[in-house]
């Protein structure tokens, strides 16, 4: 399916070229314009939840709460857990049997750190490698205000093996995740809420502060020798970058938020915190959606809860939702008769939230003049690095969106252990034009593509 939606872009380029008399370049440009989605931003998102899901034998009494669908290929039916995704059947592919081969060696609860990196953390003195979202972020760097949006319920980086972020930079260092909706919103769109007075004040003072610094620095530069100047330019560039970011953030203060209807505002509960899981998780998803919609970033990750057991703020979500005990305990009961349904309900809660996100993404056009949807232009991986708790194999995974990037959906695909999970990442990265390899990938997966 090819959607050429960048008409205004074509027109502008052509008229520009004519104006400057570079007629020779036109044929080549025509060819370029015919290429799929050449001007559409391509996006990538990853969402993670910990401790695994309810996995039931197809013939068991509790089969209806099994996370993986019945059937296979295009002939499959969702069980209760993933039922909320039925409405988006043609936008999702359920992946079974996959895992990171290197991560199979490490402890079940140590694997969240590696969901997007695929490395054997423990043999590397707990030093991680670059996560796949950051490979994309690096590729798109500079094209949007933020290279990536990294979020989690717990925030920060956590501790190795109990990370509270999914994202790792080029050096394998964890990127601190943001966890307060207000803070994220402020960062993305700046605040208009009087509750963040200090932030507003500081944002403002940051602006004038960087201004002053820049003034002085400019004068200082003239007093430096050649090599010092070269070095000092790094500093000046950095100040300029931060200044720009602050300035853009400041501009947002008084500019109405783009495309925010009353319904949007209602959905966006910036005061939500982890004590109200439904609102909180929905808001985090919504922030991701808004970040994509406004093209503030092309890359986003969200970790719904960490493997930090007692410390993860997400640990108490099931209790707060009234469907069972502490998340870790809940997950451990997957094979107990009385444990199946509560865990299934938790799985379903997560699927509902995810479905809402998909809904938002496919109701939003990819750009002001685009006939593609945001979902078509975004490839999303959703899942966990445990199948059942402690088991680092057969990850429960849903690949969603990206039909405009060449993905096809409406399938349940089962893989063997010889296919590394990284092949999915390699495919995603290739379809958004970044690279065709990642970590221990051995190739891409053509069956995911139209």
């Amino acid at each position: 399916m090819s959607r050429i939606t960048s008409k205004s872009w074509q027109f502008n380029r052509r008229s520009f070229l004519r104006g400057t008399g570079v007629a020779l370049a036109l044929p080549a440009l025509d060819a370029m314009a015919k290429a799929k989605t050449v001007a559409e931003p391509r996006r990538l998102a990853a969402v993670y939840f910990p401790f695994g899901v309810s996995i039931q034998e197809e013939k068991s009494e509790k089969a209806e709460w099994g996370w993986f669908p019945k059937g296979e290929g295009r002939e499959f039916t969702f069980n209760k857990s993933l039922q909320p995704l039925e409405a988006y059947r043609d936008q999702v592919t359920v992946l079974g049997g996959l895992s990171h081969p290197e991560v199979r060696k490490i402890g079940g609860h140590d694997s969240a750190d590696t969901f997007l990196t695929g490395c054997d953390l423990l043999s590397r003195d707990l030093h991680n490698t670059q996560s796949m979202d950051q490979v994309a972020a690096e590729h798109f760097a500079g094209q949007t205000r933020f290279d990536s949006l990294v979020m989690s319920t717990d925030g920060g980086v956590g501790e190795p093996t109990r990370s509270s972020t999914l994202s790792y930079n080029l050096h394998g260092r964890p990127i601190p995740a943001l966890n307060q909706p207000q803070q994220i919103f402020d960062r993305l769109f700046s605040a208009s809420d009087p509750d963040t007075r200090r932030h507003r004040r500081r944002l403002k003072s940051s602006g004038s502060l960087l201004d002053l610094i820049m003034d002085d620095a400019g004068k200082l530069r003239r007093r430096l020798g050649k090599f010092d100047q070269q070095k000092f330019d790094e500093y000046l560039d950095s100040v300029r970058q931060v200044e720009k970011r602050v300035a853009r953030a400041q501009q947002w203060i008084d500019i109405p938020k783009p495309g925010l209807t009353d319904a949007d505002r209602e959905r966006l509960q910036l005061d939500a915190d982890s004590k109200v899981p439904t609102e909180y998780v929905a808001t985090m998803y919504e922030l991701m959606h808004l970040a994509f919609m406004t093209d503030s970033t092309r890359v986003a990750t969200y970790q719904i809860a960490s493997m930090g057991d007692a410390t993860t703020l997400g640990g108490k979500f099931p209790q707060l939702l009234g469907i069972g005990k502490h998340l870790h305990g809940l997950a451990h009961d997957w094979n107990k008769a009385e444990g199946v349904e509560p865990l299934g309900k938790w799985d379903r809660f997560l699927a509902e939230q995810f479905a809402t996100f998909l809904n938002r993404m496919c109701k939003t056009p990819a750009g002001p003049e685009s006939d593609a949807t945001l979902l078509d232009q975004t490839t999303i991986i959703y899942g966990c690095s445990n199948s059942t708790t402690h088991t680092n194999k057969n990850y429960p995974l849903v690949l969603a969106g990206g039909r405009g990037l060449g993905f096809k959906h409406g399938q349940y695909l089962k893989y063997g252990e010889d296919t590394p999970f990284a092949n999915v990442f390699a495919t995603m990265l290739e379809q958004i034009g970044v690279t065709n390899r990642f970590a221990d990938s051995t190739g891409n997966l053509p069956e995911l593509l139209a």
Binding site: R202, L224, D237, S238, T311
Partner: protein, 824 residues
């Protein structure tokens, strides 16, 4: 230009010949005999290469006969020469059906190509022999902020790592980058620090607890709680909800020590705080100290609670704040000093207890007090250091702020500040003031600005194209960042203010003071780490099949930590006592604590503190001749495979770190010392190398390498002395091979074993070692790579150093008094 280039090269070779190579010996490595291109190299190329890469044909679009030999000016030709070197090294050229290079021809081409490429690379990197604007590295940033604010928090936790220079240093301005993310981190770190230090709230509630009895224990490590501290008992207390999460805390305790009658082991009190039940993050150690005296003593420990792992309130396994006192004296010994015995308790129940033997040094806790947040007055000291009490504050805010800013700016920027600068900051303050609720929160913002200004983040020495002498304050900073990794203190600062710092005698006194000061350990830690690349040992995983005794559990990998400390302690001892650098080659003392003494088999060393121990006190059975860097486990382990020694790595260590003559980098695709050939794995290292070196391309290089490593074969991967070699075969089986230490050095000299190697280094290579030592220390002191224009300074320093019995502290004195150290 071409002419100049070769003049410099010739000069360098000339210098190398007279300076580092004792006369009468063939020169080491490349430096001595650079073949003449026109006379020697060109004929070989003409004979073998020009037919395909000359005027008629240009296979692979390469034409050699007119390829510029000026690699410095002509970067494109330099690239091509790189390729030429690679294909020759790989044996790809000349191609198979053509006449092969003879060994001599290869030697001629590479003998010209290798040094020429290296030199051009160096010259291209030249910064005109001047220090490039240095950003504070993380360590310096942390120390500076801690010294400036008087509070040490983990300021740099989330910072991206610093860049390492080609010479392995972390303080090289050229390699230290800045980025927007980095700047955002600086801004956030400054805000976070100032939010903590400048307080706006009223005096907080202070939590005070007194404990006279341990809880039962059982967590976090299953150890029994008790007032008597022993191997399986520790004093555990916890504060359920009433403890602070911010600020300084103080722990006081009274302990009673009972030492056995004969002189022997002493108890080591360890204080640990915090505990996260759900993660790998264990408690953090607040203090550890040996108690050498019998009887009761009261001790006091102070820490910052934010630096300890705190549990999250209200969670399932929430333990509260945990404090544990333990006796760590024999924690890591293999021989048990306790026995388990079953007793019948008062209530008639049987239970098992651990009993210490008679030589066990006893430690009994009488009581423990916790107080936090702990402050003498409110607002706390660090707040008052910035916002000092003054009558001006209420009456004339602007004047007060001016004084506050002036004092802070000049301390933070390590120089006097101009009225204009102060005015600008006051202006900024006044601009913000109406928007912020109080003086404190407005001031924080002004100080944030000061802390992300280049004047704080960089060692600024503004100077145009011409070199100039440093100002007194720039000099004070160079000095303190050299010897303290931090800002100058008040005393240095005052001397810079008055200009007396340049006075020779004053400067000597100051350097001595600085080296005696506790802060010098920051320099010693960093420098030794970077000079010797101590971290190499942490990149090696010990093969526990070959070395089953090596502690495997990383969380209590105490031996590894102690091994790592040894070179640092050793350097510290030599520097502080102004001993000769010859000790780095051969020494009559070793720096040991109890754990390392056990590893090296020295008797009678008790307690965890490092101290010099005469090598004569080594157990006779141990036989190894300890002393000097080359017999230290840190070095030997770092240059090993984890299972066995790695003679190439060891040789590279000697040449790169001790002689400043690193071998040429191995050609691309150089094969490892293993082949599919059956039986290869069972050959001795000498036989293996012989096979490897059958290839002329390999043997030329290896002649300059192998001997150094072979001479060190008496020591295994862990640095322990051995008489035979344990080799692990590919199938996992262990076999024994005889030890061979007879080695031929590059100059043809045969030596046998470590002692002979030390002798040789201290006689035949003495000058070269002295020069290398100067080069390394000067590189660090200046924070830049040395260049050819530095030769005269290096020469002068080397001569003085060598004539002065290579005394290290004196060298530091000479460096800071040298022209090059005082020049921008």
């Amino acid at each position: 230009m071409k002419f100049e280039f070769f003049t410099t090269l010739a000069r360098r070779i000339f210098l190398s010949c007279i300076l580092c190579i004792p006369s009468g010996l063939p020169a080491l490595g490349q430096a001595a005999e650079l073949p003449d291109f026109e006379r020697e190299v060109k004929p070989v190329l003409a004979k073998l290469c020009y037919r395909c890469h000359g005027a008629e044909k240009q296979k692979g679009k390469l034409r050699l006969d007119i390829l510029s030999t000026n690699l410095l000016e002509d970067a494109r030709s330099a690239e091509r020469w790189h390729e030429v070197r690679a294909v020759i090294n790989l044996g790809e050229m000349p191609p198979e059906n053509e006449t092969k290079l003879t060994a001599e021809e290869r030697r001629v081409i590479l003998g010209w190509l290798n040094p020429t490429i290296e030199l051009a690379g160096k010259l291209r990197q030249s910064k005109g022999g001047r220090v490039v604007l240095r950003r504070l590295n993380h360590n310096e940033y942390h120390n500076t902020l801690s010294d400036l604010l008087g509070v040490s928090l983990d300021y740099t936790r989330d910072f991206p790592p610093d860049g390492v220079s080609p010479d392995g240093m972390l303080n090289n301005g050229s390699s230290l980058q800045m980025s927007d993310i980095q700047l955002e981190f600086y801004m956030a770190a400054a805000r976070a620090a100032l939010d903590r230090i400048i307080v706006t709230e009223d005096e907080p509630k202070v939590f005070r607890h007194r404990f006279t009895k341990s809880t039962d224990g059982g967590f976090p490590d299953g150890v029994q709680g008790a007032n008597d501290l022993g191997r399986h008992r520790q004093f555990i207390v916890r504060m359920k909800n009433d403890y602070p999460e911010q600020g300084t805390f103080r722990i006081r305790t009274t302990v009673r020590v009972e030492l056995p009658e004969e002189k022997g082991p002493v108890p080591r009190l360890r204080v640990r705080v915090g505990y996260r039940p759900d993660t790998l993050v264990d408690m953090e150690t607040l203090a550890e100290l040996d108690l050498h005296e019998s009887g009761e003593q009261e001790l006091e420990f102070v820490g910052r609670i934010e630096n300890f792992p705190l549990p999250v309130r209200g969670q399932g396994k929430f333990p509260g704040l945990v404090v544990i006192l333990s006796n760590a004296h024999d924690e890591f010994s293999q021989s048990g000093k306790t026995q388990e015995r079953e007793i019948t308790a008062e209530d008639g129940k049987k239970k098992k207890i651990w009993e210490h033997d008679i030589r066990y040094p006893r430690l009994h806790v009488e009581w423990l007090e916790f107080e936090g947040p702990f402050f003498e007055q409110w607002p706390p000291e660090e707040h008052r250091r910035i916002l000092f009490p003054s009558h001006l504050r209420e009456k004339r805010e602007k004047a007060y702020i001016r004084k506050v800013l002036k004092s802070f700016l000049s301390r933070a920027w390590r120089r006097p500040v101009s009225r204009k600068e102060v005015r600008q900051y006051v202006g900024f303050y006044r601009k913000l003031r109406p928007e912020f609720p109080d003086l404190e929160s407005t001031l924080r913002e002004s100080l944030v600005m000061a802390l992300i200004a280049p004047d704080f983040l960089y060692l600024l020495e503004p100077a145009a194209s011409k070199p100039r002498p440093l100002t007194a304050h720039e000099f004070a900073s160079r000095l303190s960042y050299f010897l303290w990794n931090s800002m100058p203190d008040n005393e240095l600062r005052t001397m810079a203010d008055t200009g007396t710092l340049f006075d020779e005698a004053t400067l000597s006194t100051q350097v001595t003071r600085m080296i005696t000061d506790e802060r010098a350990s920051r320099f010693i830690d960093s420098y030794v780490e970077q000079w010797l690349d101590i971290d190499a040992m942490n990149r090696v995983e010990v093969d526990t099949k070959v070395h089953p005794d090596f502690p495997r559990n990383k969380r209590i990998d105490h031996l590894r930590e102690v091994i790592r400390r040894e070179p640092v302690e050793f350097f510290g001892e030599i520097l502080r006592k102004n001993l000769s650098a010859e000790h780095f080659i051969r020494s009559d003392f070793v720096m040991l604590n109890d754990t390392l003494a056990r590893h090296y088999r020295f008797d009678g060393v008790h307690g965890g503190a490092f101290r010099p121990v005469s090598t004569k006190r080594q157990s006779v059975k141990a036989k190894a001749n300890r002393g000097g860097l080359l017999t230290q486990s840190a070095i030997l382990l770092g240059a090993s495979t984890g299972g066995d020694s790695h003679i190439i790595k060891r040789a590279v260590f000697v040449r790169e770190r001790l002689l400043d003559d690193p071998p040429d980098p191995p050609p691309p695709n150089v094969p490892e010392l293993e082949t599919a050939e059956p039986g290869f794995a069972k050959l001795s290292i000498r036989e293996q190398l012989k096979q490897h070196n059958n290839d002329a391309a390999c043997s030329d290089c290896h002649r300059g390498i192998d001997g150094w490593g072979l001479a060190m074969e008496e020591y295994d991967a862990l640095g322990q002395w051995r008489t035979e070699i344990t080799r692990k075969l590919p199938d996992g089986k262990l076999i024994k091979l005889p030890l061979e230490t007879l080695a031929k050095l590059p100059d043809g000299r045969e030596i046998d074993g470590m002692e002979a190697l030390k002798d040789y280094l201290l006689t035949e290579r003495r000058e070269q070692f002295a020069r290398a030592f100067v080069v390394k220390l000067l590189t660090y002191a200046l924070g830049r790579s040395l260049e050819f224009s530095d030769e005269k300074h290096i020469d002068a320093l080397t001569h003085r150093f060598a004539d002065d019995k290579m005394r290290v502290q004196t060298l530091v004195q000479s460096i800071v008094k040298s022209e090059v150290f005082r020049t921008k």
